[in-house]
């Protein structure tokens, strides 16, 4: 059990309120004791060691920390960990299987959708939420859905292409199935 901000302090303060929460992260239930003020981003990155979720601005502005909570994209730096209690959280680590990349990841590889890669996990999860609602988006719809995710490298062009590539591949897979 980890109680995060207690680690940050020299010693856990007496009488600090701690909550036991269970969050389903990428398909597995994880039970952790947290202080109510712990942010979901810190739960993932520090307590659960899932560092694929990036912390960019830490001020709710960049979207790098985006994860899916019950299927919808949220900025994990702007959600309390306790609010994820009993919910499903999906991070970039949940996309690929042991042997196969997710089509969205493949798309980013095929279309060169990243340079430094810092924004990529957030981009992919926003893209996943979009494609679940709208399997055949237009370029404008992709740009709109990703407009809360900032990228300082690519100029967005290839990110949009990557998502359109993934959309096509996912539609083809669905037809075969």
């Amino acid at each position: 059990m980890t109680s995060l901000y207690d680690e940050v302090q020299a010693a856990p303060a007496a009488g600090v309120e701690v909550r036991r929460i269970t969050v389903n992260v990428n398909g597995t239930d994880r039970t952790v004791d947290v202080e109510p003020r712990l942010l979901l981003a810190h739960l993932l990155r520090q307590a659960l060691q899932l560092t694929g979720t990036h912390s960019g601005c830490d001020t709710s502005g960049c979207g790098a920390c985006t994860v899916l909570m019950d299927g919808r994209p949220v900025k994990s730096c702007t959600v309390l960990a306790v609010q994820a209690n009993g919910r499903e959280v999906e991070t970039v680590e949940g996309l690929a299987t042991a042997s196969e990349l997710h089509p969205i990841q493949e798309g980013f590889k095929e279309e060169h959708g990243l340079q430094c890669g810092f924004c990529t996990p957030g981009m992919m999860l926003s893209a996943k939420a979009l494609l679940e609602r709208n399997p055949d988006p237009t370029e404008d719809e992709v740009r709109w859905a990703l407009s809360g995710n900032l990228c300082r490298c690519t100029g967005y062009q290839n990110i949009v292409k990557s998502v359109l590539w993934a959309a096509k591949k996912m539609r083809e897979q669905n037809q075969e199935a």
Binding site: L38, L39, D58, S60, T78, V79, L80, S147
Partner: protein, 290 residues
Amino acid sequence: MYPSRFSYDAPTSVEEVIAILDQNGGEAKVLAGGQSLIPMLKLRFASPARVVDINGIPGLEYHRVDPDGTLRIGALCRHEDLEFSKILGNFPTLSQASSLVADPIVRTRGTFVGSLCHADPQGDWSATMIALGGKIIAQGPNGRREIKARDFVLGPFVNALAFNEVAVEAIVPPAKGKALGGYLKLERRVGDFATASVAVALDVDGDIVTRAGCALAGVGGRTIDANDAISVLVGKSLNSESIKEAAEAVAAAAEPRTDHRGSSSYKRHIVETFVTRILSNIANSEQKAA
């Protein structure tokens, strides 16, 4: 960055929320979408002793139109519920604003009612509600009361709720006649707050304006209530003369200040341009429809 310590409650009824607020005498804060409160906690602009999370209260996610045309928006209706709504046809001011509030990720969490409570002078929804003549339903230990949107926003980040009241619903009355309107916002990039924005809502009978509402965001120390200014339209039809008169009156009601988003005169000019544009668009599309 992390907030200072607070106690956390996640009650499952409005009555419990009110009881907790009441017992804590102003030291407790309601947490709705958290898209303004959590950033404030992190920056330690707010450090309440208790945070009362209302997300676990069932039955507050709705927005619906009553048979008489009244729109009701529950306290947990998210920005994106309105963006993707299919029932806002009679509320063009709201539907046009819905995709301009913050960015798509913030819109999955942030709530309409929370945004009104936050009373940000740059908030989009407060401007639409003042223009539409909307109301907020507050519930406290002594029951419910209605507060007009124009009386709800008292100042920057100050609303009319008592410490032991929670806003449970927002209400937009039905138009008398045909509802027309629009929302235009100038932002530096997606997700930015308004440099200047204009909400207009008109009730029209034939081609005569019977009620005119207008409010502005980003151009004053609080949401600017420009209802009196735009009332010059009442009893008239929309033509280049009446549009010019209204745009000038509304621009005069703005109280913009020079800052990193632009100079005061620039922002006033934007307001005048946006009022003209919204009203001209309405006039043009009505002409086409006729």
